[in-house]
């Protein structure tokens, strides 16, 4: 009588054991990441800017588009931390709201790049006859310098936040798809995938549970960098006037305003650029930390 009951019991406890082990591993991973100095610094920077972006309405001392003709082009002071522009708009408030736009666009570009890059990269690997077609198309896209392609696409589609996201995703996705394809190729050849196939696992199960679960770590690292590059690229699009349209502030179009008043008001261009640099530095530090810990083969630390 014991055999089946015991088997059931074993199966249950094995499952609980596996769940516990997974939780323990995740805990250890979080601990290792938090002990990694550059990851921690980057994480703190990013959390700070994320909070600024989320609570922009509460933090900003003025309305970002409020003209104020009594205080035009005033240098930084206690009343206007980062000074004012030619319409008397408060630069600090504009930078705070611009951070929301930049981080938002960067985040969506990273997310969509991740989704479509994974989809195409896996598809190219899994469906053999698609491989050449998909890869040659991606090669062609990659032949354009990324930012230039994004500028052309954004200008063709028209200036808006959504079009910026589309343009940047098309420009950055091919490289991610390549990374995914390379990682999936490696995993596809391993014995446990063969074993899963032999055991009769379905395509969906093989792709998600066996292949992607083991191929995603380089992709996650890559996406952090995509996020970083997108924040800069979005600023370039708005600087050139093909990003989200003014008067809504974005870090790039504030810098463009500052370019016009470069002779008399340095503060307009300087502060939004510092915000971009800090956000991107934070993301790069996080990327380096993740690479060291979840994808050590790529690591440059010795």
């Amino acid at each position: 009588m014991g055999a089946s009951a015991e088997g059931l019991d074993d199966g249950l406890s094995l499952r609980t054991e596996m769940r516990r082990a997974r939780r323990r591993r995740l805990g250890q991973l979080a601990l290792r990441l938090l002990n990694h100095r550059s990851f921690l610094i980057g994480f703190v920077i990013l959390v700070f800017f994320a909070l600024v972006a989320v609570f922009a309405d509460l933090i900003a001392p003025y309305l970002p588009n409020k003209n104020n003709y009594r205080d035009v082009l005033t240098p930084p002071s206690a009343a206007f931390w980062f000074g004012t522009d030619a319409f008397g708009r408060d630069i600090a408030s504009r930078v705070i709201h611009g951070t929301r736009v930049s981080l938002g666009i960067g985040f969506y570009v990273a997310l969509l790049t991740g989704i479509f890059g994974t989809l195409l990269g896996t598809l190219a690997c899994y469906v053999r006859w698609l491989d050449a077609l998909v890869m040659r198309t991606l090669d062609g896209l990659m032949a354009f310098p990324g930012v230039l392609l994004a500028i052309a696409l954004a200008s063709a589609l028209g200036p808006s936040a959504i079009n910026s996201i589309i343009a940047l995703t098309v420009a950055f996705m091919p490289r991610t798809a390549r990374v995914v394809r390379a990682a999936v190729m490696v995993v596809q050849g391993t014995q446990y995938v063969e074993a899963a196939q032999a055991a009769g696992a379905g395509h969906g199960r093989i792709i998600f549970r066996y292949i992607l679960a083991n191929a995603l770590s380089p992709v996650i690292v890559q996406l952090t960098y995509v996020f970083a590059v997108s924040v800069i690229a979005e600023a370039i699009l708005s600087f050139l006037g093909v990003g989200p349209p003014p008067p809504a502030p974005s870090l790039g179009n504030i810098i463009a305003d500052g370019r016009t008043y470069i002779q008399e008001a340095w503060w307009i261009a300087v502060f939004p650029g510092m915000a971009i640099a800090l956000v991107v530095l934070g993301l790069n530090l996080i990327g380096d930390g993740l690479r060291d810990i979840i994808d050590p083969r790529q690591s440059s630390q010795h």
Binding site: G140, A143, F144, P145, V147, A152, A269, G273, N284
Partner: protein, 315 residues
């Protein structure tokens, strides 16, 4: 080696095909068309129809594609009605400014980046290593167009040492040319230095740990011969890859930097054309820039073959 070069050149053909197709498709995606710009706001329907016929917009898409490709093979990229001149002339005239800017930046970025990276690797785990890596990371986090504006404020507006923008042709005044190119080239090189330095360091660290370096040191070879002749030569392939990618970044970076410094290059031409909605120029400018990028990558591939015989003979 010849076979290797030929194969690499042939491999560019499908890529160039996709590039030209993309340039065509992007402009086809554009909502609204050039007739509104050319005819002005008060153009009559007949006038618009006449312009559409003249520009070829009344033809179906496949006919336009055939025209695009047959002109391409004749070295004809179309005609800009706004500038009233062939696209090829307008783009090629501006190309030299862009190329000289990108080349200058590439030289600066590679020299400084490789030196910084080698230094960091040789002095591994010292303050020099950490300092240069922090500098590299900060460098690659700074948006280059903004850094250019900061340099203009610093050296152009406040100190007044260098011009705030504008371009002097090298044929007119060599010193003036150098002065007008200094800040743009430094700006463009700055972010890429960090990327190159980081890759050089990690590639050098891999090589410096290998047995043949220990042997070279053990037989009493001088330190800098070991580092530069033995180690660097073997560390060069990953560095080359990054330099190749960098060149693409520099080409698209030049687009933006030209706008910041008011330099008359292809980039500023494209940006100006975007604002004027002068699509033939955008299309042609994109195609030329992407083709330059493709050929740079072929040259990088050939350099691989030169530095690493395994690449040449392999496969």
């Amino acid at each position: 080696m010849t076979l290797f070069i030929v194969r690499r050149l042939l491999s560019a053909i499908p890529v160039l095909f996709v590039v030209s197709l993309m340039s065509f498709v992007i402009m086809w995606l554009v909502p609204g068309d050039i007739t509104a710009v050319l005819g002005g706001a008060d153009a009559s329907p007949e006038e618009i129809e006449r312009i559409r016929e003249q520009v070829g917009l009344d033809r179906p898409i496949y006919e336009r594609a055939i025209i695009w490709y047959s002109s391409l093979f004749h070295g004809d990229l179309g005609y800009s009605y706004l500038l009233d001149r062939p696209v090829v002339d307008a783009v090629l005239e501006r190309l030299q400014v862009t190329l000289s800017l990108a080349t200058l930046a590439l030289v600066i970025a590679t020299l400084v980046g490789v030196l910084l990276g080698v230094l960091a690797a040789v002095k591994h785990n010292t303050w020099l290593d950490q300092g240069s890596m922090i500098a590299a990371l900060v460098g690659l986090s700074i948006p280059d167009f903004w850094f250019g504006i900061v340099l203009i404020i610093l050296f152009g507006v406040t100190l007044g040492w260098l011009p705030t923008g504008g371009f002097v042709p090298i044929t007119e005044d060599v010193l003036g040319w150098a002065r007008s190119m200094t800040l743009p080239a430094l700006t463009l090189a700055f972010t890429q230095m960090g990327v190159i330095a980081r890759m050089t360091r990690s590639s050098m660290l891999d090589v410096l740990n290998q047995d043949f370096i220990r042997t070279a040191r053990a037989k009493g070879m001088r330190a800098h011969t070991v580092v530069f002749k033995h180690a660097l030569r073997n560390a060069v392939v990953p560095i080359l890859t990054v330099v190749g990618v960098t060149t693409g970044v520099l080409l698209s970076g030049a687009v933006v930097i030209e706008t910041v410094f008011s330099l008359p290059g292809v980039g500023r031409l494209i940006i100006g054309s975007i604002q004027r909605r002068d699509f033939p120029i955008i299309q042609g400018g994109l195609l030329v820039t992407a083709s330059v990028f493709v050929f740079v990558n072929i040259i990088v591939d050939m350099l691989y073959g030169f530095f690493d015989p395994r690449v040449r003979d392999g496969r």
